[in-house]
């Protein structure tokens, strides 16, 4: 079961960015271009809204809370002093009051020594404002107060809209990502399903399942996390940079001085963090492997008293995992503080240089506060960069493995035929002929050698021979799971390669040694998607396949759901259902791989009977493990090491006193003895 974890390939990981892979993903995203466009548009809006929040605060400060410096009415300014920026009362922030308002005029008149009147306006220095009482202040600054109310409403509107848009964006991204993955998953599944059996022999089921499930899941991360990151955070970074540049070009440029260090640290870190992530994943995979190995080999370990040694090996591996983990901890312990430090340096630069700007009146106080807020936003995405990089790399490795399978074109070659072609359907199988058929699963290793025989409609042919003589391979070729390496197989004189495989198989029914049933109801398993089976027909099928007893025993009857560990039906009963399935298909040709043994011998008899019913009036080829089965066949083919060494009826072969005769000699008394 270790393949289920899909970790054995962990060592091989692709490059994080592979343009070719991205280009191949592109067609899958194309149907959703509108969603993509929509979410990009949303991201732009959201970024603008995110960026506007500190800006709104800036406006609130500059316009209402701490008003702009108005021309100093108290002392003459000296430009030389201004440049050096001495602190003293040389420069003062003053509040401008509009005297045309009678209420304000009253307040101003109450403090003639504090205000300096200049035409319609009165000016008061900021530090003297505290001498006024609160009520008077409120009157004096009522315009500011109502301004604050207005700007807060704008702020509120922005955050609510931001919330809504964010939600919509996430939903769209998620929907699109899921949809694309669904398409990719179906495409991959259909593709794998269409590949030849040879492919399935080479690739364990667990690995293929991992491709369709986990690997696709990894790609999902690419869409939801990475694309969200690329679009949202990248926009945010660019947006912040632009806003900072537009608020104050010089201050922005100066504070960007830390950026090269940030970029350097990020690159350096993401490479090291990636290595650490990767090492950690490999170590965990090794731990899993060792654990799986221990669990599967527990008997051997316990029998050989190997527990202590095995524990030490595991503990060593586990300690290596710890050390790797500590390496990762160290890397993060360095990177995170470094990024924070760089952020703090940027802040210091803003305080020093921006503060100087405020003194020099080239920057407003609000702009400075906004700068500080923006810088904080700027460093947030940078901290997440390592995780994003790791996700990206994982996704790329998965994409590589997925496309590797999609590139595999190993399916049975199908003829190109039109709907009116005489090969698009098959009326009835009159005869099947094998002409000099040879076959091997791998080159140089022939499993079947120059097999020739003819199977005529209505005939039952049994194939006997010991394990490895090529019996199962023979029926695999007839069902066209494989094509012969040389020679040909014909149906009614026409090479089966001329027919689409579905046409050939629609006339055949396969009953395997191990009855394979799908989870679902018994009815679905028998029907196999054929909805045109009437109740009466079904009844007939159940009767002739001896399934009635089973169906009657189950409380849910034919609608009992079969599941992995669900309904308790025996392997013999499963075989009965698989025979019913063959009945429902109403085939011309039965291909039967007889079971070597059934656990419950009670059902054995009813299976034999059901098979007998099934083969009646039909052509059948049976891989026989019981001589009794072979004896009832019209003809018997004896295979040995891939060759037909005897062929004929039971009577003929007995007369011949060859291998078949000698098989029989010892089995007269026990006809059901298994040939092994």
């Amino acid at each position: 079961m270790r393949t289920d974890f899909g970790y054995f390939e962990e060592k091989k990981l692709g490059k994080p960015y592979d343009v070719k892979l991205l280009r191949r993903l592109y067609p899958f995203t194309w149907p959703y271009k509108i969603f993509f466009a929509g979410s990009i548009l949303l991201v732009v809006f959201i970024t603008l809204l995110d960026l506007s929040l500190p800006y709104v605060t800036k406006i609130a400060i500059d316009r209402y809370i701490v008003p702009q410096i108005t021309p100093d009415k108290f002392e003459k300014r000296d430009s030389a002093q201004h440049k050096t920026g001495h602190k003293t009362g040389h420069k003062t922030r003053s509040l401008k009051a509009d005297m045309s308002d009678p209420e304000i005029k009253t307040v101003v008149n109450n403090y003639p020594d504090l205000f300096k009147i200049d035409g319609d306006f009165a000016y008061i220095p900021f530090d003297k404002l505290s001498r006024l009482d609160k009520k008077e202040l409120a009157v004096l600054r009522k315009a500011d107060l109502s301004g604050i109310t207005g700007i807060t409403s704008i702020f509120l509107a922005i955050i609510i809209i931001n919330f809504g848009l964010n939600f919509i964006r996430i939903m769209i991204m998620e929907y699109t990502g899921q949809k694309i993955m669904h398409d990719l998953r179906m495409r991959l599944f259909t593709h794998i399903q269409g590949l030849s059996i040879a492919f399935f022999n080479r690739n364990p089921v667990g690995r293929l399942v991992t491709r369709v499930t986990n690997d696709i899941q990894n790609m999902q991360e690419l869409f939801t996390s990475v694309i969200a990151f690329v679009f949202k955070d990248l926009f945010l970074l660019i947006g912040i940079a632009l806003v900072l540049l537009s608020i104050n070009l010089r201050l922005a440029l100066v504070s960007f001085a830390v950026l090269p260090f940030v970029v350097y640290a990020s690159i350096h870190f993401s490479v090291r963090a990636r290595d650490a992530f990767r090492d950690l994943r490999i170590k965990i995979a090794q731990i899993n492997t060792r654990l799986a190995e221990t669990i599967e080999g527990i008997k051997v370990i316990q029998l050989f008293l190997h527990e202590k040694k095995n524990y030490h090996n595991f503990a060593r591996l586990n300690h290596e995992n710890y050390l790797t983990g500590m390496k990762q901890v160290r890397i993060f312990a360095v990177f995170m503080p470094v990024v924070e430090l760089l952020g703090a340096i940027a802040l210091a630069v803003i305080i020093y240089y921006g503060g100087g700007g405020v003194i020099a009146e080239s920057i407003s106080l609000g702009a400075l506060v906004a700068f500080i807020a923006y810088m904080k936003m700027f460093f947030r995405p940078i901290r997440d960069i390592a995780a994003t990089y790791n996700i990206m790399q994982n996704a790329m490795a998965s994409a590589e493995r997925i496309f590797q399978i999609l590139d595999n074109r190993e399916s049975m070659p199908q003829p190109v035929i039109g709907p009116s072609s005489r090969f698009s359907s098959l009326e009835k199988i009159h005869e099947i002929t094998l002409e000099d058929v040879s076959f091997g699963y791998v080159t140089d290793e022939t499993v079947l050698k120059e097999i020739s025989f003819k199977l005529v409609a209505g005939e039952t042919v049994a194939v006997v021979g010991r394990t490895g003589s090529g019996k199962t391979t023979l029926i695999n070729l007839i069902a066209r799971f494989y094509d012969p390496v040389s020679g040909r197989i014909t149906i009614n004189g026409i090479d089966i390669k001329n027919y689409p495989t579905s046409v050939v198989r629609s006339k055949m029914a396969l009953v395997m040694q191990e009855p394979f049933l799908f989870s679902g109801t018994i009815r679905d398993n028998i029907r196999q998607g054929k909805t045109d089976i009437s109740e009466e027909m079904m009844e007939q099928v159940l009767k002739t396949s001896n399934c009635k007893t089973l169906i009657n025993r189950l409380p849910e009857g034919i609608d009992t759901i079969l599941s992995e560990r669900g309904a308790s039906i025996s392997s013999g009963e499963r075989q009965l259902i698989s025979i019913a399935r063959a009945f429902a298909n109403n085939p011309d040709l039965i291909i039967l791989d007889e079971a070597t043994s059934y656990i419950d011998s009670e059902t054995e008899h009813s299976i034999q009977e059901a098979l007998f019913n099934l083969m009646k009036n039909r052509t059948s080829i049976i891989v026989a493990h019981r001589l009794s089965t072979a004896r009832h066949a019209d003809r018997i083919i004896v295979l040995h090491k891939g060759k037909i060494i005897e062929i004929g009826s039971h009577v003929e072969l007995i007369k011949r006193k060859g291998l078949y005769f000698r098989f029989n000699q010892f089995q007269m008394s026990q006809p059901s003895t298994i040939i092994r």
Partner: protein, 581 residues
């Protein structure tokens, strides 16, 4: 929290590290709170033009200085606290592994490998996260939260209280949403399981699908399952999608309140512009601890659930243990007796073995034959106590095997199982199997007896050849001979072979049987085989059918008897003759 005792040792073992880490963490939190104060001073001074560049540069230097200290302390807590959690992870995993090794074969028949794997990786990682990030986030939330609120209260009490109104919603929201998320996440995982199973089933049954032209229908069915998976994911996304924006909304609401009320208070000079800016910074600082509160509670709950699951495994007592009063007995010679032994697997009623009686004297050889499923492997598994008998008794030299300590019992027996289980290491390590005292010459003798030596010599790296997982690079016969060499090398008076030559060709098989034969007389030997020529030489042969002994005697006697043994023997003779051509 009963299972807490599992992680306690790691806390006390690392208590100095933890204390140091926590001090670092608290220092970081406090220093972080000073930066807004510096910003406040700077803003206030700038409002009144009460500062020059020198003053500004000292503020800037404070910021950098504090940042450097924060950096150092942060490195400190990460190393100490997260490091401790990694330590606990390692220890827990070792503990679990050691325990799993003591559990008996029947436990592994019940429990799926995948589940155990999940415990050893996912659950332990959850515990680690709960310890490491749990400690950090909890401290952070408490220290940073109280301190930030304290500073804000110091600046302005009423404003603080009003501004903080949305914050409890962040905590409640985080709790509520993460609970919901947890549930929905469980559903997503379940449907993912369904999807995996659906795909697995279809690939496993690919022959039937192809034979019945079911490709299109199966695709449609899978499509429905995959669509269901999408639906579940989208439902989860609705929650996660609204969670983070909503948290942002709440903390932004605090900002809006601050902007309105704080702005007004600044205008009427109740607070200074610097205070106002500092408030903005504090609210920014508070958002994280508030969210962490909700998050950390879930993290800890998840960790606790995982710890409970781990504890449950650790509480599983192995079925096969030393009986009370079991003695350390060595030097037994190997007379084996089965008296009325019956056996049935737990939770299954059908008896696998029924009233088995065998007497096997020291130095004698017993052959066991019978059709598949007749109980041969089960019978021999009872001797080293891989399972315990349901009734009857097995004794060695007259001592009931439960009276012997398991370790001593298994030391008596060299067992070669049917499935030659090999480990992903070198051939040498697989044969020696930890028995490092063995001399090289002995190793070579054992491999020669198993007819493996010439094969090993063909490998480029000889004994040091790495054979891959389960020995993937080897053929079935090679694997079997390695397992055989392993069994032959173990110094034990009793040798048990389960189908030792099933994977090798006839000639090698005969040679191997001759090797085993050469040990007869000296050791007590039991051989199970489907190839009857392998047991021909045995002093006693039994044939099993449906858990019962149906034939018993020497080769000659059983041939005379002319039942299962004789018929099968003759049939195989013909085949062997045919194959010899």
């Amino acid at each position: 929290m009963k299972s807490l005792h599992l992680i306690k040792p790691y806390f006390s073992e690392n208590r100095y590290l933890i204390i140091f880490g926590l001090i670092c963490l608290i220092a970081v939190d406090i220093l972080q709170l000073i930066i807004p104060i510096i910003i406040k001073w700077a803003v206030d001074d700038l409002t009144l033009f009460n500062i020059d560049l020198i003053g500004l540069s000292s503020y800037a230097l404070y910021v950098v200085g504090i940042a450097v200290m924060i950096g150092l302390f942060r490195y400190g807590w990460r190393r100490c606290l997260i490091g401790t959690s990694r330590r606990a992870e390692e220890g827990l995993r070792n503990l679990l592994f050691a325990h799993i090794q003591t559990l008996s074969a029947s436990y592994f028949n019940r429990v799926k490998t995948g589940d155990l794997m999940a415990h050893a990786t996912n659950d332990i990682q959850h515990v680690r996260m709960a310890i490491g990030m749990g400690m950090v986030a909890l401290t952070d939330a408490v220290v940073l939260g109280t301190a930030a609120i304290g500073f804000m209260l110091y600046i302005n009490k009423l404003l603080t209280l009003i501004v903080l109104i949305p914050m409890p919603f962040v905590v409640i929201g985080a709790r509520f949403f993460s609970k919901k998320m947890h549930r929905l996440y469980g559903e997503v995982q379940k449907t993912f399981g369904d999807l995996t199973e659906a795909v697995r089933e279809r690939f496993a049954g690919i022959r039937i699908i192809k034979a019945y032209n079911r490709e299109r229908d199966e695709s449609l069915k899978l499509k429905a399952i995959s669509s269901n998976y999408i639906d579940k994911n989208l439902r989860l996304a609705r929650i996660t999608g609204s969670f983070f924006p909503m948290m942002l909304l709440f903390s932004n609401l605090s900002l809006a309140i601050l902007l309105y009320l704080g702005g007004r208070q600044t205008i009427v000079l109740t607070i200074t512009p610097g205070d106002f800016v500092a408030f903005i910074s504090y609210i920014g600082l508070l958002t994280w601890p508030m969210m962490a509160m909700g998050w950390v509670i879930n993290l800890i709950q998840r960790g606790r659930a995982s710890l409970d699951r781990i504890d449950r495994i650790l509480q599983t007592r192995p079925d096969i243990v030393d009986m009370p009063g079991a003695k350390s007995i060595t030097g037994l010679s190997g007379n084996i007796t089965f008296a009325n032994v019956s056996f049935a697997y737990k939770h299954r009623n059908l008896p696998v073995l029924n009233e088995i009686n065998i007497t096997l004297d020291k130095g004698k050889t017993l052959g066991i034959v019978g059709p598949p499923g007749s109980g041969k492997t089960t019978l021999i598994s009872l001797i080293p106590r891989l399972f315990d008998v349901s009734s009857g008794r097995i004794s060695i030299d007259g001592i009931d095997i439960p009276q012997i300590r398991v370790f001593d019992l298994r030391s008596l027996i060299s067992f070669m199982p049917q499935e030659p289980f090999l480990f992903a290491s070198t051939i040498r390590e697989n044969i020696l199997f930890g028995n490092n005292k063995i001399k090289n010459s002995e190793l070579i003798t054992a491999t020669k007896k198993a007819y493996l030596y010439d094969t090993i010599k063909l490998f480029h790296n000889g004994f040091e050849t790495a054979i891959g997982e389960k020995g993937v690079i080897l053929s079935g016969g090679q694997k079997q001979r390695i397992a055989l060499a392993r069994a032959l090398l173990k110094e034990a008076p009793v040798l048990i072979f389960d189908d030792p030559i099933s994977q090798v060709d006839l000639e090698t098989g005969n040679d191997i049987i001759n090797s085993i034969k050469s040990l007869a007389g000296e050791k007590t030997i039991i051989i199970v085989s489907h190839r009857l020529s392998a047991v021909r030489f045995a002093d006693q042969i039994i044939a099993l059918d449906k858990g019962k002994i149906v034939e018993s005697g020497t080769h000659a006697e059983l041939m005379e008897y002319d039942k299962y043994y004789a018929k099968t023997y003759r049939l195989q003779e013909i085949e062997e003759e045919l194959n010899a051509h």
